[in-house]
């Protein structure tokens, strides 16, 4: 049955993402709409933003985003509106909250950890070997090299 569902989604005729009739006249609002829809995940597609998705729901969402903007919503309010209906899943930019603290802090922790390791490596003291070979070493080396050739 999953296959049937999927084929239904894909049945949508191949059109482009944003359609001209969706575009707002106000270029500032339109630009904001594009920015927002690039960060909203299409709920029926495979990991695509609604901005570039052909699915019907994606188109509906794009139109709604523009309506909210025209009605005077801030970007945050638009995101909030979507999250209320579809959950955090629709946000490609995960919100800062307890369950994503680890995600957002992860790279810093990795970097600091690595940095610590680098500092340790650089400051490790080791015995400095003599700057020249001793006579015995020299002799042995000659022997080795002549053996080989």
């Amino acid at each position: 049955m999953k296959r049937i569902l999927l084929s239904l989604i894909l049945l949508a005729s191949p059109v482009f993402a944003v359609e001209p009739d969706e575009v707002l006249d106000d270029p500032v609002l339109e630009e904001r709409a594009r920015v927002i829809s690039a960060e909203v995940r299409c709920v029926v597609c495979q990991n695509e933003p609604i901005d570039s998705s052909n699915a019907g729901v994606a188109r509906d969402l794009r139109i709604i985003i523009r309506e909210r903007l025209v009605a005077g919503d801030t970007n945050e309010e638009v995101f909030e509106y979507l999250v209320l209906r579809y959950g955090d899943f629709v946000l490609f930019n995960p919100p800062w909250k307890p369950s994503t603290y680890a995600l957002w802090l992860g790279p810093f922790v990795i970097l600091i950890f690595g940095f610590g390791a680098v500092v340790l490596t650089l400051t490790r003291k080791k015995a400095v070997p003599a700057a020249t070979l001793s006579a015995a070493e020299q002799e042995e080396l000659e022997k080795l090299r002549s053996d080989r050739s």
Binding site: M1, K2, I4, L5, L8, I9, V43, V44, Q46, G56, V57, D60, L61, I64, V83, L84, R85, Y86, G87, F89
Partner: protein
């Protein structure tokens, strides 16, 4: 200390492997998303009736104080909807359940013909030609079926057709909802 550091990659790999194993087991569908409406009141939308049929439309008020209600999102163009329709019909009749519907992005004539062919078990049907109602409900595709409590709280959402194994899972959720009421 040094030894521990060298063990770190192994430990991390084991952790990642454990998660991967979890991810593969239990019939998990990575594309399925949970509903944001669970434990929240039903969205405040009023949908008009389908033209050409006597069944009235659907609004938020219709889902409060009327006992446990199933809200089925369907469309005549959706194959799996046909599949689940007789099962939902029978299920609601046998278990004496109230079922209402949202007719999603469907032409009225097509919906009427569909209901005439397959039967109409719905007490109320909201026509959602624009798909706006579906978005308010957080619908990702059809069919979907919600269980709404007497107080108008969304208890459960089932995406996909209520057939076969899905029917069993849906029935379990329904029994749980009944017990909680």
């Amino acid at each position: 200390m040094k030894r521990v550091l060298f063990l770190l990659p192994l430990v991390l790999a084991v952790v990642i492997g454990g998660f991967a194993l979890w991810g593969l087991s239990g019939g998990r569908d990575p594309a399925q998303i949970p509903s944001a409406l669970i434990s929240k009141p039903v969205p405040d939308v009023t949908l008009p009736p389908i033209e050409g049929i006597a069944t009235p439309g659907l609004s938020k008020a219709d889902l409060q104080g009327q006992g446990l209600t199933l809200v089925n999102v369907f469309a005549s163009w959706c194959g799996p909807c046909r599949a689940e329709h007789p099962i939902l019909t029978r299920m609601t009749a046998e278990q004496d359940l109230r079922i209402v519907a949202i007719n999603y992005k469907d032409k009225p004539e097509a919906a009427v013909a569909w209901l005439e062919e397959l039967g109409n078990p719905y007490e109320l049907i909201g026509s959602d030609y624009s798909g706006r109602g579906g978005i308010e409900w957080g619908v990702t595709g059809v069919p979907e079926t919600f269980i709404v409590s007497n107080d108008g709280i969304v208890l459960y959402r089932f995406p996909g057709p209520v057939v076969g194994d899905g029917q069993r899972r849906f029935q379990d959720a329904l029994d749980a909802a009944r017990a909680a009421e």
